[in-house]
Amino acid sequence: MSSTSLGQVAEVEFFPDFPTLLRQHQRMVFSIALHLVSDRMAAEEIAQDVFLKLHQNLFSMKSAAHIEFWLRRVTVHRAIDYGRKHRNDPDVALDELQMPATEAQNSDPFIARRLQALVASLPEKARAVVVLRYQEDLMPEEIAELLEMPVGTVKSHLQRSLAMLREKLGRTLGEAAL
């Protein structure tokens, strides 16, 4: 990953600039939160809190890679905490979830919306694993480090989640769509 090598180079003298970091990582942080809580307002609230926490701890950051890792980890944990706090809120139908306003590029918008809704229906840990794997392109080992769980658990979450998503989407669209 290019940011990792950048981080290693910058480790000697690293002077992070908060506004630059904010503009650089806002899409990533907001998207992780959005795909985990499925609510744009809640996602913005979580993302704001994460960046404020980064602002507080800015000078303990060792490198660009460290910041990226830290942002992903804190966002996932905040989003999971938010999900736990609002678990008893009235159920929302999958189609009513406030998913991304723009349609995914290079894909069928209907399938994309359906998949987003299905991901939102996964259990919290499995959802986090899927989002980190397919949104952030992280390897199972990186996800395991970030979520502090064994690599085997990450892989089994991925397998089970993919099978479930595929099955549910297949039921909706028919096998031909997959």
Binding site: A43, Q48, F51, S107, D108, A112, V119
Partner: protein, 129 residues
């Protein structure tokens, strides 16, 4: 990579946060800084105020102790002066008394000697008597 995984990746693309997101975060960060600075200044002032009270209490204590010690020293010096004065007075009285005794004795002896010398110089008178 299966087609399904590609579809999943496309569905989970990064999203732009709502307009003005970065500005809102920066505004909150500035507020946070201001609050922290205020609280640091407040803590510093509080600490200074506490220290000021401590210094004042210490100064008062030093003045009280110094005054007490000064008074005690002065009292002791006065007592010593009084004692010395009494001793001098006693010494003077004793000296005066002794002087009187000596003076008496001297004057007594002088009278006797005068009588005798008178007799020596006027033997007729003694004979006449």
């Amino acid at each position: 990579m299966t087609r399904f995984e590609d579809q999943l990746r496309a569905a989970l693309q990064h999203e732009e946060p709502p307009a003005g997101f970065a500005d809102r975060v920066l505004a909150r960060a500035a507020e946070q800084d201001e609050r922290r600075e205020r609280s640091l200044w407040f803590q510093f002032r509080n600490m200074f105020a506490v220290h000021r009270l401590r210094w004042a209490a210490a100064a008062v204590a030093i003045v009280v102790v110094a005054s007490g010690v000064g008074l005690r020293v002065e009292e002791q010096r006065r007592a010593e002066g009084e004692a010395a004065k009494r001793q001098v007075m006693l010494a003077l009285r004793i000296t005066g008394e002794k002087w009187q005794v000596v003076a008496k004795e001297i004057s007594g002896k002088t009278d006797t000697r005068t009588d005798q010398s008178d007799r020596n110089t006027h033997p007729d008178r003694e004979n006449q008597e």
